[in-house]
Symmetry: C2
Amino acid sequence: MITLHGTPRSRALRVSWLLEELNVEWRFRFINFAKGDNRSKDFLALNPSGKMPVIEDGDLVLTESAAILRYLAEKYGKGQFLPEPGTAQSAKHEEWVSFVICELEQALWSMGKHRFALPEEQRLTTMLPVATFEFDRAAKIAESWVPESDYLLGEQFTVADVLLTQTLMWATAFKQTIPVKLGAYLARVQTRPALVAVLEKTEAIAKAAQ
Amino acid sequence: MITLHGTPRSRALRVSWLLEELNVEWRFRFINFAKGDNRSKDFLALNPSGKMPVIEDGDLVLTESAAILRYLAEKYGKGQFLPEPGTAQSAKHEEWVSFVICELEQALWSMGKHRFALPEEQRLTTMLPVATFEFDRAAKIAESWVPESDYLLGEQFTVADVLLTQTLMWATAFKQTIPVKLGAYLARVQTRPALVAVLEKTEAIAKAAQ
């Protein structure tokens, strides 16, 4: 049984979604930021940075959403969700993974950090327009790369789709402008039944805990 | 023949170093920022963001250093430099990769962006102390994780070692404080003959081109 620590709509959604796609046994442990759950002694023992998501799989404790997705896809996915290693398809997959977590997401995370996540004395409101500039610049590159196929690599739904889709959902929540082709991509992938189901499931758990 | 586009001491060092470790045929194409090489039509056709490193391997054009390292290790490494997929060792490897490129490096990249890489009107000198705060916080976590073994995963030198070592070299160049255990790790790994050789080789090429 895998335990996922997180909130329904956050980077933890990447993990809950893939767990649902993988059809493995897992449970959701809701981390209530408002109650300081992520600064509790128990949580900091799992991740000293206080960040989500974290998974426990037997003795293994793992942080960093991109690392968790790869681990789960490799261990439980039997070749689904990741292209064949060492191929050009795999190279392009890794390029998307890295671009999403290092470029697209970092601009959004800058907004989050300077709005609420950094200690108050480190927050700069002047960073918010810079972060929007950076998001727009990264989104423009992603727009030039995104295909019209169902998924980033064509017909195969992969880890990179989970990362890009959740990041675009995050951008929407932060009221950023999403270019046309990326928006159409988001609309297509957001209909995955596992994503719809897992949001319903985790939000019900979070609501019951509040 | 693989072509690497970049400068000697930058994220491109990650790639040149691994190419040297892999003992494959490759050539270095020096990108002279001072002469605007990274904004040339030819370079932007390879990477519309104007960022290095970029590799060409036959028809494949690949950007994003972490993606390039994984591709090269998978295609040419025959199981060296990456742990067995799906294992706990591999999970911990991926956690390091993600932590280095999303946390440790982003703080340094913030410094670079607000000093020289962003358009002038987007640069904030007030971000420099915030970036140092973020670097120190990430370095403290890395310090609590770094082992006393030769490499991050024990005796096996991996892609994560390339990423962490180059990032710590970058931090040194940016005059950041590196905690004790991380500093000892850096001193150990920096002696790899391939790293020493590739710096000498690429710096000679860059010097000749200037």
